[in-house]
Symmetry: C2
Subunit: 129 residues, 2 copies
DNA sequence: CCACTAGCTTACCGAAAAGTGGGTACCCGC
DNA sequence: GCGGGTACCCACTTTTCGGTAAGCTAGTGG
């Protein structure tokens, strides 16, 4: 176990093990999981595994390219499991790994909260774009 | 209160109140708070308010432009409070609003978990870039 | 009196992300 | 044999992101 990021916040210079340090590898993964589509894909797969086409229809507005790219990225990071049945027509199932499920449990409250907060706000949340 | 995003996941078509729908306004805010620098700034401000220069030094690698842009965005979304004492040389304090603090409590576990997971992983987490 | 500081803003430009349109392979139903 | 469905990949273009550099204000140290 490593230091809490709270310790980092106390210090003037953050330790290299937290994403506040520019050379920390966690920044890369953090970028992946907080990417525009990455969040939605992980949350979508949190409930149940889905096929390619299902995901594409479900995460509205994502292009095929971005879906493929996002899935490959998340697979590379060990969050998503890709299972291709060798059948024709092709059928590929995507699901979360154990690590992906852990991530989902952190992302779901975030998405839920943002969604709720925006919906609840009477005055527009943003003054400018 | 609105529907849980879980209901959305059960349905074939997600309701317009969740970020799965392409026209949902929460997508915009979600993009802000999950942006590369947005996450780090909110988490940094979660512990204590900071001045411009402090933040700039603390969130390593962020350019002045990006810091200003991120802060303006988060201020527009109501997450960050900007207090400029009219003194010269200028002194500006940034802190989280109540809403910002709520957000921080969701982001901290995420950052912590990613940081821990990456640090704990022996084999490289990502197969490809 | 000149440089230096803090906290920005704006203009400019290259890089990277993301959208578009096409193609592929294979089989099925008509 | 033609079109449609599935799950992609590749090339091209557009859009956005993000970094560099300069400028601005006003007081302060040398």
């Amino acid at each position: 176990m490593q230091e809490s990021i709270w310790n980092a916040i106390h210090a003037d210079e953050p330790p290299a093990t937290t994403p506040f340090a520019s050379n920390c590898p966690s920044r890369v993964v953090l970028d992946h999981v907080t990417s525009k589509w990455g969040v939605l894909v992980v949350v979508a797969l949190s409930r149940r595994s889905m096929r390619w086409g299902e995901l594409h229809r479900y995460v509205e507005g994502i292009s095929e390219k971005m879906l493929a790219q996002t899935l490959r990225l998340l697979e590379g990071d060990g969050f998503v499991l890709r299972e291709s049945q060798g059948t024709v027509p092709p059928r590929v199932d995507y699901s979360l790994t154990e690590r992906g499920r852990e991530l989902g449990e952190l992302l779901i409250p975030l998405v839920q909260w943002v969604s709720d907060t925006v919906a609840r706000t009477d005055q527009p949340l943003r003054a400018s774009a």
